[in-house]
Subunit: 218 residues, 2 copies
DNA sequence: AGATCAAATATCCTATAGGATTTTCGAAAT
DNA sequence: ATTTCGAAAATCCTATAGGATATTTGATCT
């Protein structure tokens, strides 16, 4: 029975970090891919049977997801994925991004490591939706990491998960604009031009906000 | 002594929200009061016996604390409180605060509710260390809340916990300066002067950073 | 005295069982 | 047809037991 468990044996890191962590990643991936849609109940028992583990690691993983705002718990009523962002939440999220990411882009332009720089430039234009979403996530993650501040990187990673979910809900199209805006940011960082990188990132986020805002009416 | 702990007992919602939440608040309070010092092992079994509950809610609470950066887990080695901040982490934290809090102060000056405004003005000068720490936390929390952005409020609340712990480690003195800086911010917000509130908050954080930085040599 | 190795201890991790509560489904009454 | 009430089902919450692992302690050897 133990041999049947390692469904992720090849991907699992060498030092196993516990079942709870594994469950956490798995459920988070399911939420991000909309396999578990927003505002949907998540049963501890069902997950335990589906993943073939006990309830304890499921419960730990859900507690971590709750702390990250991906699910919410009601006493004696179980867990449920957070409902899709409404207009007010979208506004708050982009207000926050506008505070952080332009600054991160500036610092990245000034101090980003060369290895990360090369990785940033290797971003290919992605044809499919999923590939574009992954590329976009990786793009912003690299810049946040380049800023050299773990708090910034962690905060943005957490926010981008919600942006990803929101965009997936509306099957947002791949716009040429976004790719061009990314290119402008990459060019500014490559040129080590902090002012230009900050301005390009600010413009990118504002345009991105305008594109996403249209999907919401309430 | 248990009765002295429920600082929010009268504010707590009538419907009990589960043992895990209760354990979470309790352990977080113990960490913030240095009853559990930084870099100290936290035994699930001991906590279960001490609090008189089973291991499951303890485990859930520790998972949430881990997601908030207050404890860390090593596989098969148990939980431990995070080590005290070093110089690099302090720098990162205040860089982050400088990005967020001045903006929050500006928005609070422009749009804070009158009820919150009155509560902000009622801050008394606190004689003891603990009372000052609580007042400081409440001061910044009210401003973050006044900005009307939950993400800002939550992020700052999380950061202020670490500031609180760091300051408690060094029994930092109560400075007249900090009180005066607070008063300047309050005055600016009262006058609905966004520019002045932002500048006053920025100066307060920079001075606060200077006061705390001296305690660290490495 | 200091270092090395092995046994014992403490702890974590997982699994299962029982009690408590919410939700849901169906029937009856208005 | 809609609403209300009650019982069944599903689910969560808590507690306890057993296997696995890291840490510690003590004795032995150099």
């Amino acid at each position: 029975m133990a041999s049947a468990l390692n469904e992720t044996a090849d991907r699992t890191i060498a030092r196993p970090s516990g079942l709870a962590e594994e469950v956490y990643r798995r459920v988070r991936a399911d939420i991000m891919s909309l396999k578990i849609p927003p505002d949907t109940r998540v049963s501890v028992d069902s997950l335990a049977r589906e993943l073939g583990v006990s309830q304890t690691p499921i419960r730990e993983a859900l507690s971590m997801l709750e702390a990250n705002g991906l699910v919410s718990k009601r006493h004696f009523a179980g867990y449920a994925t957070s409902p899709r962002m409404d207009r007010a939440q979208l506004d708050e999220l982009f207000e926050f991004r506008l505070l952080i990411e332009p600054h991160a882009a500036r610092k990245a332009a000034e101090a980003m490591a060369d290895t990360d720089m090369r990785q940033l430039a290797s971003g290919d234009t992605a044809p499919s939706h999923d590939a574009f979403a992954d590329m976009d996530t990786e793009f912003h993650r690299l810049i946040a990491q380049g800023a050299g501040n773990h708090l910034i990187a962690d905060s943005l990673a957490r926010l981008h998960i919600h942006v990803h979910i929101f965009r997936s809900c509306f099957r947002s199209e791949i716009t040429e604009e976004a790719v061009h805006e990314h290119d402008a940011i990459i060019a500014a960082i490559h040129a080590r031009d902090g002012d230009k990188a900050e301005a390009a990132m600010r413009r990118h986020i504002e345009r991105s906000y305008g594109r996403l805002r249209d999907f919401i009416k309430d």
